[in-house]
């Protein structure tokens, strides 16, 4: 006789892009689905729901993590950053985002938010990454469109521009 599970919602309080947000979710609801459905932050994408493709990547305390592999009920107490948290203001792009536009480091855009967050996190802790560092940093983000070439160039370009603008690193985005 299988146990019958009534739908029991738990209240979660999450810090997303610097704001406290609340939602009532089943324990089984992933952070990804909560971001998308409860907070309407649809920039994080579902590609595989088993932790391989990286389209769901968000930053947890500044580190790239798979939001499809975390339940919302586990995600309190962290600083969660989604792609929506990167733009300095509506209509403006961060240096990393603009670098991706400059080198055309994307095509369909589906892997792009996760890719950019991974790039952002890399450049926060390493201001002069070599090619090997870049490849490793994005190795958890699969892209089927670009073959990665223009993505690597975008990150190199962003690193260069960030060095020149003297932007302080290592702080919260």
């Amino acid at each position: 006789m299988e146990p019958c599970h009534e739908k029991i919602a738990m209240k979660v309080r999450l810090n997303v892009n610097g704001r406290e947000r609340e939602a009532d979710v089943e324990p089984r609801k992933t952070l990804l689905d909560t971001l998308r459905e409860d907070f309407l932050l649809v920039g994080s994408h579902a590609g595989c729901e088993h932790g391989v493709c990286g389209a769901c990547t968000v930053l947890i305390d500044g580190e790239p993590s798979r939001s499809c592999l975390m339940f919302a009920v586990q995600a309190d107490g962290y600083d969660i950053t989604t792609i929506e948290g990167l733009a300095p203001a509506p209509g403006e792009l961060s240096i990393v985002q603009d670098a991706f536009c400059e080198t055309h480091g994307l095509q369909c855009g589906y892997c792009t938010p996760g890719m950019i967050l991974a790039a952002h996190a890399l450049l926060e802790r390493n201001d002069a990454p070599g090619r090997a560092d870049i490849l490793e940093a994005i190795s958890g983000n699969i892209c089927r469109c670009t073959g990665y070439g223009q993505i690597v160039e975008a990150i190199e370009h962003a690193a260069d521009r960030l060095r020149k603008t003297n932007v302080p690193r290592g702080g919260r985005p």
Partner: protein, 293 residues
């Protein structure tokens, strides 16, 4: 791919966690979730309840004891990867870490999670086996230490009973002056499960004789194993001796066969990588660059 419904509890103490685990068989531990959540998503695992131990401070941290480095179960893999203590005192583990999954999974995945998952091709269990680590396990009544050899019993099978919680892994510290390590892995892609991985640690005396050696192989059979390299001890290591011992030991190894690699492949590459890992370890020990404090 949504999991079947479950309840979620986050106990405040290890004792509470063990009590919950013991009281209900249909309960599983969640820490980093990097291996459990995909199984839940595919409904291959359907626990009625998840017990979240990730925030238990008593299970977190890297500490040095007289003869061992102790890593708390919920220490994240990335913390081990970046740890100065590990780099200096457990260089074999430091070499293995970059091969564990990829950066995002190391950011959340835990050492205890990897150990408890008991994947035959996983790198952290391999290092545990190679170095003869002990797994510290708590249950409602007591706390025990189990040698890694006994802990890993089969593919994805660990010697845990209902109510058990892996608390820590204790890696023995080598205190010899000239220690070297080597780690090699082959996988389809960098981040994939290893087809074969080899982990070696050796020590030399002042005249270049081997005074200690251990070699572990992962991914070949249904769990990581140690190869008997005792004949190397007491002699100056030679390429021939290393090759002979490793080839002899790997010729008849139990090896699994799947879509990605045949059993023959695993045995063949186990030999190749085992030799390379020992070569690297001896070279490092001889050069003095692997010296421990």
């Amino acid at each position: 791919m949504k999991p079947a419904p479950f309840d979620y509890v986050r106990p405040d103490s290890l004792g509470e966690a063990c009590a919950i685990l013991a009281s209900d068989v249909d309960t599983r531990i969640i820490a980093g979730g990097q291996t459990l959540v995909p199984m839940l998503a595919m409904r291959l695992a359907r626990p009625a309840r998840l017990v979240d131990i990730l925030r238990l401070k008593e299970l977190h941290g890297i500490s040095t004891e007289e003869n061992a480095i102790v890593i708390g179960a919920v220490t994240r893999q990335v913390e081990v990867e970046r740890s100065e203590i590990i780099r200096r005192s457990l260089p074999l583990l430091a070499k293995a870490l970059p091969w564990v999954g990829h950066p995002p999974t190391r950011n959340r995945g835990t050492v205890g999670g990897s150990i408890a998952n008991a994947d035959p091709s996983a790198e952290i269990p391999l290092v545990a086996i190679t170095l003869g680590a002990e797994i510290e396990i708590a249950n409602p009544s007591d706390r025990t230490r189990m040698p890694a050899d006994e802990f890993f019993i089969g593919p994805m099978l660990a010697a845990v009973m209902p109510g058990d919680c892996v608390c820590a892994v204790r890696f023995p510290l080598w205190t010899q002056a000239r220690v070297g390590t080597g780690f090699h892995e082959v996988s389809a892609r960098r981040s994939d499960f290893a087809f074969v991985a080899a982990a070696a640690q050796v020590a030399l005396d002042q005249v270049g004789r081997c005074i200690a050696a251990t070699l572990g192989l992962g991914g070949v059979g249904d769990r990581a194993i140690r190869i008997d390299v005792a004949p190397l001890v007491g002699n100056v290591p030679t390429r021939e001796a290393i090759t002979d011992i490793v080839r002899a030991a790997t010729k008849a190894l139990d090896a699994s066969s799947d879509l990605h690699a045949s059993a023959d492949y695993r045995r063949r590459v186990a030999a190749t990588l085992g030799i390379r890992a020992l070569d690297d370890a001896f070279a490092e020990a001889a050069s003095g660059h692997g010296a421990l404090p």
